[in-house]
Amino acid sequence: MDLDLSPGEAAFRDEVRAWLAAALPARIRDKVRAQKRLTKADHEAWHALLAGRGWLCLHWPRALGGAGFTPVQKHIFEAEMVAADAPRIVPFGPNMLGPVLIEFGTAAQKAHCLPRILSGADWWCQGYSEPGAGSDLASLATRAVREGDHYIVNGQKTWTTLGHHANAMFALVRTDPAAPKPQQGISFLLIDMASPGVEVRPIVTLDGEHEVNEVWLTDVRVPVENLVGRENDGWTVAKYLLGFERTGLAGTAFSRQGFEHLKRIARIEQADGRPLAEDPAFSLRMAEVEIDLMAMDVFNLRMVSAANAGEAIGPEASLIKIKGTELRQRITDLLRRAVGPYAMPFVPEAFDEGYNDAPIGPGHAAPLARQYFNMRKLSIYGGSNEIQKNIVAKTMLGL
């Protein structure tokens, strides 16, 4: 048993670290560090740099233009990305649709879509949730009716992250409303967002930000060759994709980075004439989070290591998702509390590039309440933490 990186793994980490230090534009890095808003162009520029190095599509085999990383390499790479203040890879094409097409796509779908994900020609979004289908995703109602060589799609998708940047959507739609089980009548379709009848409407979240959208679909014509997998077998595709989605949800690198940030702030902030880091109550809260984070790190490494050895990661991924998201939320909670009254000011324009006014209160305070509220999403998305508990109870504990 050895918890430390092997010489080969350490060499890989050094290689990634050196490349990130050289390749990540300072302008983008500084925006990430200050938690300023990234534009579509920022994301595209960063994706292009990653793609140029062959490190955009981490899951894909090298023959298809991917990085071909092992699970351990992927873990190291993602931790270095966070530590370098690089923007996260927008996952919908590279991490989600790509692996699905590689597994289920037709030759034509692969030949058309994969290069366009790598080149940035397509920005994909995910059409899963609906107003009436959240945790109970299989109850989704968006209808697709076959008419000749097209499906006619009607319905409404929601929580579509960065859908306002997307030119394409992969979506779950109902093709057989009479199927005996709701999971059996669902298909996985690729939809061109430029099609007539597609309308994207912004949803402003509680932090005042526009990140997610509603997507209305009215008589949208989708060519049948855009069906991925078999008709009415979309649930199989969706479950496969979910496996890729959950692996990234532990977020231990974000938690580690957030905790280091908390330590810095707690040394600056004053409470009763001494640094907050020395406050008897606050310092114990920090210590408890740090202990849980140390354990979580090892827990995550155990899973990464098992995946590296070729073991299937089952309900353990749900455990990781629950604990990882709770921990990130606890850290953002402490960050918000660390700055006291200066968590209060709400100056949304301060997060735009080019805003140069002096901050209200300490510069580190501005994003913290916003981040805290934004991070409430972690325990809701990707299968709410309660759904994850149901999965563990059923599949791991046999209850």
């Binding site: 048993m1 918890l3 849980d292 354990a295 490494l301 990464v304 290591s305 098992a306 504990l397």
Partner: protein, 375 residues
Amino acid sequence: MEFTLSEERRMLAETAARYLRERYPLELRHANAARAEGFSPAQWREMAELGLVAALLPPEAGGLGGAGADIALVFEHLGRALVVEPFLATGVLGATPLWRLGGPEAGALLESAAAGATLLALAHGEPEGRYAPAHVATTAREGAAGWRLAGRKAVVLNGDAAARLVVSARVSGALTDEDGLALFLVEAGAPGLTRRGYGTVEGGRAAEITLEDCPAAPLGAPGTAFPVIEEVLARACLALSAEVLGLAETAKGITLEHMRTRKQFGRPIGQFQALQHRMVEMVLEIEQLRSAVMLAAARLGAPRRERERAVSAAKNLAGRVGRLVAEECIQIHGGIGMTWEHALPHYAKRLVMIDHLFGDSDHHLARFRDLGMAG
């Protein structure tokens, strides 16, 4: 990164698991605990012959292992079966100072301890000391007839049955100074040694010890023992954290079985979501503890601060998780979980009472924080 067990440790695990499965049913455990010594000397020797005590010590101390991973592995298995035999007192608390501070008779004594022939104990904590590692009021004076100890020692695990006691005492300095501490070897029959043995809440044995002008042989140079005391406590905290892991695993298994078979409102109570979610939270925290134990085991040989932080993290989590699992498992069992007759509450009691040994979750949380600030 590598999480698989070595071939030697896999065999050790199999040996421990097989013996405990075949030869250590819970009824026997209760019978062993009820004996005057608080355990079965015959089973203790059998387990020692299998190498389970020697696994806790390195080869230079007559052992077969001694690394953090060995300690964690053995104690997780001991926890699974709720073993009452004196592995901690002899193999960790008593043997570590003998190994580290040597002395002329250490080699033979360690060999005898590893073989299950000689019982050891550590008399370190004192009535006023709570969990402070350097709080020692017991004094040591060197006279014409050698060293003599005077003082009182509290809750000495297996202190009533031990043939030799390792006793901490102060040769100089103030009550809680780290400097000026010494460790001594005291014979069970030494004049001036009084032992009041008693049972503990969860089925073990301990003793209150009084030393009055008691002859003792120094281990190492008197005055410099604190780093060894700290290392002994680190090894003990790792062992107990791993024991909590094993206890929690068994308590979880017993409770899951109850959830599958106990019916109320016409169906197994395991079908109720309120109970399912509580069980999943337990499973999650047990996995957290497993990770913390692995980390502490891996860092047992690291430089002091790194070692102590990892150990305090593990003991803190063991305290929190032990309490959670004990309370939740009793609650899920309902009334039957309150009875002496049922297996579960005996695991629950050990899960909780370990928090009272060598620093509870609050003590180790503050210690973890303070060690972090020092860096």
